[in-house]
């Protein structure tokens, strides 16, 4: 059973879901609200083995032992979905749920795009200057940055390359840029990565939560293969 974990409002994820189902990858959509309202959680670490069983309120069950491929776009538990938690307990409860999700996500078998990267639930979130350092180390061209500057604008027409399980998808780019994107994905431990570029294929930012719609059918094909474990 492959999974799509996302917020109910995550339009790019739901777009990918529709097209992946069309490619025969029957992703089961589980939203953060579904997880918050789950009827039953049972997450065990016994004898050195971790396993989890989640019974959702709509009757579906997620057994980590039976999951085969996950597209993970979870961001954070929502405090407003915490049922009866009183105000004074709410922050604590959110942190507890966050910690549980982090552990649960870690038990999901490969392939997972993206794996939990504490404190983020779905891939790393470096700041822009940190991305610049990583991108440069990966061999991508970067522009100078001075503290206090905002990130460069990223018009909708700015080229964006996607890395998904080692494959690079997007507009035609120089081989060195493709290699750099692949190296950046590996360096930050982010299997699904969106990389923006400015003029002259200068690195302009990256995200673990790219707008998948911009990757079009080519990205869906790569995701389908990755989620089936066919890299």
């Amino acid at each position: 059973m492959p999974l799509l974990l996302c917020d109910a409002e995550d339009a790019p994820a739901l777009w990918a879901w529709r097209h992946l189902v069309g490619r025969g990858v029957a992703l089961d959509v589980v939203t953060s609200a579904d997880l918050m309202r789950a009827h039953r959680w049972e997450h065990r670490l016994e004898g050195g083995t971790a396993r989890a069983l989640v019974e959702l309120s709509d009757g579906r069950t997620i057994d980590t032992a039976e999951v085969r491929g996950t597209l993970n776009r979870l961001t954070a538990p929502r405090a407003e979905l915490l049922g009866r938690a009183v105000e004074s307990d709410r922050d604590y409860a959110v942190q507890e749920v966050w910690a549980m999700w982090m552990s649960w996500l870690h038990t999901l078998p490969e392939p997972v795009l993206n794996r939990v990267t504490p404190p983020s639930l779905s891939g790393p979130w470096p700041s822009y200057p940190q991305w610049l350092v990583h991108a440069s180390e990966a061999g991508l061209r970067t522009a100078p940055w001075a503290g206090g500057e905002t990130e460069p604008p990223r018009p909708h027409t700015a080229p964006m390359l996607f890395v998904a399980a080692g494959a690079v998808v997007g507009p035609r780019a120089p081989a060195s840029v493709v290699r750099g994107c692949r190296a950046l994905s590996a360096a930050v431990g982010c299997a699904l990565l969106g990389v923006w570029f400015g003029p002259g294929w200068t690195f302009a930012g990256a995200t673990a939560q790219p707008d998948l719609r911009r990757g079009g059918r080519a990205l869906v094909d790569v995701l389908a293969n990755a989620l089936r474990g066919l890299e």
Partner: protein
């Protein structure tokens, strides 16, 4: 140049500063409580992060920093910000300093004890437990659930069970007793972590720079950190670890990307130790003050060797 970040009067930082002074190692202190006198301006040129750190009248190019010991408290809770509004300039400036500091510490080639990213596994105890197991140490059987029936079955199997927080929020470990059962239904609203209670002696192991210092803690309290609240004073004693256990602790520390760690072990009368947790910002001074174990000296050596 070694940079110490935190509150200088706080005991761990104070001990490390004293050790650095004794060694004649040059160091500077970013006093968190004097954030208003500090400024960090960063730049990235050709993929390298540089910049200048102003500490009062002193200016330190970040490229000159070879190592940093970071023991920052949550800046939002600094006494200097008490009563200061969420959007006030002072608070914004304080946050900006801490953000810039974190951005730099995450990517500097300097030795950082410890980077925020390496500390993050401690934000989820069960997640960290899975990493502990992967590194070769064992953890107590654990159940996280919102199902009271599952808890009762778990308790019936293990006989003695404790409950504790999963997140980085500190909680007092408590044994699940008969008096708790009437309120067990409350877990339906928020899954809770339960663990088998394992018998044995608590041992805190501080790992730094390839060295491991073990301290046995003898207390009858379920959570010795809070035993004094119940009139249970803990007795601390330096002990020697088996080589293989010490190596596992050092390996786990390295696996988590930590330069310094405080591992909480429990040694059963027979069998391998259990590891409850890896603390990435340990208050080692409590153990050092009771036993004389030279942890601060080891940290200072590790910083100076960078």
């Amino acid at each position: 140049m070694i940079l110490l970040c935190g509150i200088p009067s706080e005991r761990p930082l104070e001990l490390v500063a004293t050790e650095l002074e004794d060694r004649g190692a040059p160091y500077a202190v970013l006093n968190q409580r004097r954030f208003a006198e500090c400024e960090l301006t960063l730049e990235v040129v050709a993929g390298e992060m540089g910049g200048l750190l102003r500490l009062g009248r002193r200016a330190v190019p970040v490229a000159d920093v070879s190592a940093a010991y970071v023991r920052l408290m949550d800046d939002r809770a600094l006494p200097e910000l008490r009563g200061v509004g969420p959007h006030a300039h002072l608070r914004t400036r304080c946050r900006a300093l801490h953000e810039a500091l974190d951005q730099w510490l995450e990517v500097t080639p300097a030795r950082v004890v410890n980077r925020t990213s390496a500390q993050a596994s401690n934000g989820s105890k069960p997640y960290q437990s899975q990493l502990i197991v992967a590194a070769g140490l064992r953890v107590p059987d654990t159940l996280i659930t919102n199902d009271p029936e599952a808890v009762l079955a778990f308790r019936a199997r293990h006989r003695r069970v404790v409950y504790k927080s999963m997140s980085g929020v500190r909680s007092i470990v408590r044994e699940l007793g008969e008096e708790d059962l009437p309120r067990l239904e409350r877990i339906r609203w928020c899954p809770t972590q339960f663990q088998e209670r394992v018998q044995g002696t608590d041992v805190r192991v501080h790992c730094v720079g390839g060295e491991a210092y073990a301290t046995a803690v003898r207390s009858s309290a379920t959570d010795y950190r809070y035993g004094h609240q119940d009139g249970e004073e803990a007795r601390l004693e330096a002990v020697a670890l088996d080589d293989d256990v010490a190596q596992l602790c050092l390996r786990l520390t390295a696996t988590l990307g930590l330069e310094l760690a405080g591992l909480d072990l429990r040694m059963p009368p027979d069998g391998d130790p259990y590891c409850f947790e890896v603390n990435p910002s340990p208050a080692f001074s409590y153990y050092e003050d009771h036993t004389g174990q030279p942890v601060a000296g080891a940290i200072a050596r590790h910083l100076a060797a960078a």
